[in-house]
């Protein structure tokens, strides 16, 4: 049987097993559209208090580090302080979207381009961040290459406080509201890359970053 027939065969058997008929298919499709329109949420845990505090606490529990600065202008200096404190190179690849910040004045050489395998420090912004889990949400796109949060050993993320939302549901709502179409990749990043595959021993820095530093920016 040709491979194109697999579709007809598989769907046909599913329909037979589910007792699908022309009539109940029409009703089923109406019900399906209703489910998609309703977008019912499941039970959700309480996320109380200040979203920024909750986000930072959760992120730190996932082995990220976090600090706050008052405004975006202060972010480059904070990044340099972090790199110096950890003896990391003062050279980074940043999202093209962040090219407007005065990195040079803070003493950091940056290039606004996608990261390659040799870049040691990657700087990104976020689309939003999730307080419930301490996750960064980054979207693929021309100004926000996905590789920058993935290939370098150190990932520094600038997170505007106003973009911290309660849960994953709110993050998806923001994607719908601001992008319409979902971008190619919506990535939730929750701490440095890790593995427990050898003797169940936790090791940070499996394939992605060894460390994630978060700079929360109070005023955008």
């Amino acid at each position: 049987m040709a491979i194109q027939d697999s579709r007809a065969d598989i769907l046909g058997r599913i329909r037979r097993r589910l007792g699908r008929t022309a009539e109940n298919a029409a009703a089923g499709r109406t019900a399906l559209n209703a489910v998609l329109a309703r977008r019912a949420q499941g039970p959700r845990p309480a996320v109380e208090g200040d979203l920024v505090a909750r986000f930072c606490a959760r992120a730190e529990a996932l082995a990220s580090t976090a600090e706050e600065v008052a405004s975006m202008d202060e972010a480059p200096a904070a990044v340099v302080r972090y790199l110096a404190a950890h003896d990391l190179p003062r050279q980074a690849v940043a999202w093209p979207q962040l090219a407007g910040l005065d990195w040079a004045a803070a003493g950091l050489r940056t290039e606004g381009r996608p990261a390659n395998g040799d870049d040691l420090v990657g700087i990104t912004g976020v689309f939003c961040a999730v307080a419930e889990t301490g996750s960064l949400v980054v979207l693929s796109g021309a100004g926000t290459p996905a590789a920058n949060s993935l290939l370098p050993e150190t990932h520094v993320a600038l997170v505007p406080a106003a973009r911290i939302v309660r849960g994953m549901e709110e993050a998806f709502d923001l994607v719908r509201a601001e992008c319409g179409e979902p971008p190619r990749a919506v990535n939730f990043i929750s701490g440095p890359s890790r593995t427990g595959d050898i003797e169940q021993t936790l090791v940070l820095g499996a394939h992605g970053p060894y460390r994630v530093h978060i700079v929360v920016v109070r005023q955008p």
């Binding site: 097993r17 589910l18 996932l62 990749a185």
Partner: protein
Amino acid sequence: MEIRSMHFKARASAAAVDRALQAKLTTAKALFVEGRRRAVADIDLEATREASKGIRDAGIADLDLWLERFEAEATRRGGRVLWARDGAEICRLVIDIARRHGVKKAIKSKSMLSEEAGLNAALEAAGVQPVETDLGEYILQINGNETPSHIIAPAIHKTREEVAALFERVHRRPRKREIGEMTREAREVLRAHFLSADMGISGGNFLVAETGSVALVTNEGNGRMVTTLPRVHVVITGVEKVIPTLEDLATLMRILPRSATGQTISNYFSLLTGVRRPGDTDGPEHLYFILVDNGRVDLLGGGFQDMLRCIRCAACMNHCPVYQTVGGHAYGWVYPGPMGAVLTPLFVGIENAIDLPHAATLCNQCGAVCPVKIPLPDLMRKLREAQVERGLRPRRERLALAAWSWLARHPALYGLAARIGARYLKWQAGGGERIRVMGMAPAWTAGRDFPAPEGRTFREQYAAGRRA
């Protein structure tokens, strides 16, 4: 993957006396069980399990319609949706895609379906180099394509010394002592593969019908690499993985990492939709979904449909006293533990996995932790019934049961037999409380003790009590 599920008893007995394996299983148990217990404390566990079950049931109840919707949405965004009835078709489709795009090397993020299909061997035969990138899977691959023993911690049976020796031999670098150093070495070796591969192959944790997306969860970040760097991405996933909305995804993502590894959230969770957009600097130019039947469709509308809800979290095996004793290899195919004891006979044929539905104490630890409330012990019981109905049980067992049922219908004889039996067992125990080696069934007592009876049967004691 070759099916070795007929040899469960032999493999289980060997595993049960393997001390090194026992130590590893004990650590893993403590980590996973404790981890899950802590991680579920901050959610309404029962409500979330009920909701998760509901979401999976909704997808399955109208599976044809949700799949059609998924296909339409995915196609609209540049994905190509293909269908495979079995492992052979999976291999054929992937090889076709590889040829079409001139692929020499494929990097893989963990996919159980690729194990079901034996895809790596097929790719190699077709001249495409497959590279497993999940650290555990990578270790197994370079060790002569060894098979996984756990669905989320595939190399759980390996010690650090074994891995160190393997790396030294395969990577030809000085031997490492620390697990951190070994991980770094694997990172360096695999990084080169990530950057040079033409194709990424991944499984999919969920398919979202609303947007035609695949949701993928990893901790190492290899899932992101595999789906970001190569120019072709192939998703291989079961037809049953479709869920309706992003809200449903959010709910399931609360329960999946908690149940699996005791994490509130996995490190990397990606929702992938369509191909690289104009202006994008990364992401695949070609995206294929291979939606697979391989035995799943036959479970629809029957007594085992509940099993289709499975989200492959591994909580059932992490909590199973039998898995904790024998490990994953004893189960002889892709899926170990209670979910494997149900899925393997259903996928490979009841007659090819006779022991598996019996590889459980029916204690229901698995059913109690399953995030989508699959009644695993009930399903194992149904499989046992099916074996009996089809006359698949061994002749000795059938004869023994026939003898027992005849005796049970003759109370006087039954009483006599029980009296003889009790005294025989007491004699076997030689005055002790346990029988270490039973004369009539030495194999049975090789891995366990049998409590010795006091000498008189319940009916004898009852009658004596009445007279007194």
